[in-house]
């Protein structure tokens, strides 16, 4: 089976897709990503805005209706969820390989 052309996802995109399993607008995405990454990934607004734009064009996320006219709300699409699964499998495979070679020990 051919690999999805969007793989591997960047760290930024992986976190955004993960944050959008439940609907959220821009600032909520930023907060969720910062929290999930333990403060390691802090998205600046210009970067997030561009990433959301690209992900909508790639149909990995889509807008969902919201009451707030000033904040667009997005959610992951079925194809986005598939890409997220596939990338996770890719990383789990690499971690399995690492464990085989290092006996599960991270030095």
């Amino acid at each position: 089976m051919n690999r999805d052309p969007h793989l591997p996802l960047t760290e930024t995109v992986y976190y955004i897709l993960l944050a959008l399993i439940d609907p959220a607008h821009g600032y909520v995405i930023m907060s969720r990503v910062e929290e999930m990454s333990g403060g390691q990934v802090r998205l600046a607004p210009g970067t997030l805005y561009g990433a959301l734009d690209t992900l909508v064009k790639q149909e990995m996320i889509a807008r969902v209706p919201s009451d707030d006219p000033r904040r667009k709300v997005y959610q992951i699409t079925d194809s986005g969820a598939q890409v997220l699964d596939e990338d996770t499998r890719r990383m789990v495979h690499m971690i399995d390989l690492f464990n085989i070679h290092h006996g599960g020990e991270i030095r």
Binding site: H25, A44, G46, Y49, A51, P69, R70, R71
Partner: protein
């Protein structure tokens, strides 16, 4: 305070706006290389983005996302162009981009804008210049026998036609300069975008 300056390099533009802000002059309006500043006591970090024309809904969402994360929109047009933001709390290192590829895509959007303008200017050049008189200065004045006239007769005709000549030749010159500026700007920003996002 007003200043006239022309920037194609967003990093240099930001550096200049931040020096102005450090001296107490915060940007309040910008467009067509005219910058207007208001006096401010509080320190600010100014950053520049570039966006194409947006719908009202898209623009509200864009500005609100920045506002939610502590960046106040200073100025910029919904119809496209540079967008200026200030942060009053974060330090001088605060940025509106958190990775180099999104920093560089700011130049890609600006290149798209410059190319469109350049293409329009080139099309008008191609339509008007072959029928125009820009490159034959002896045809700039079109009054028959103007140069054979003498005295007041000459001066009257000459002065009468001069504003028309300036408008006609100036319009052609403006088109040529605009097209050349856009082409050079695209090449310059293309190099900047490659420097901003090295592949490795």
């Amino acid at each position: 305070m007003r200043k006239i300056k022309l920037f194609l390099n967003f990093d240099k533009e930001e550096a200049w706006l931040n020096r102005m802000a450090a001296d107490g002059h915060l940007l309040s309006a910008a467009g067509y290389s005219l910058y207007t500043f208001t006096e401010t006591g509080s320190g600010a970090t100014v950053r520049v983005d570039y966006q194409p024309s947006m719908s009202e809904e898209d623009y509200a969402d864009y500005v609100t996302l920045f506002a939610d994360s502590g960046w106040q929109h200073l100025c910029g047009s919904r119809k496209g162009g540079a967008q200026y933001f200030a942060s009053f709390l974060a330090g001088p290192d605060a940025d509106i981009f958190s990775d180099s590829s999104s920093r560089s895509s700011r130049y890609k959007r600006s290149i798209a804008g410059l190319s469109t303008l350049g293409l329009i200017a080139l099309i008008f050049c191609a339509m008007l210049i072959p029928h125009g008189n820009l490159f034959s200065p002896h045809d700039w004045y079109r009054t028959p026998g103007l140069w054979d006239k003498h005295g007041l007769d000459f001066l009257g005709s000459f002065l009468f036609e001069t504003p028309l000549m300036v408008l006609g030749v100036g319009a052609q010159l403006f088109l040529v300069v605009t097209a050349a500026f856009c082409i050079l700007g695209v090449v310059y920003q293309w190099n900047l975008s490659r420097k901003a996002a090295p592949i490795f």
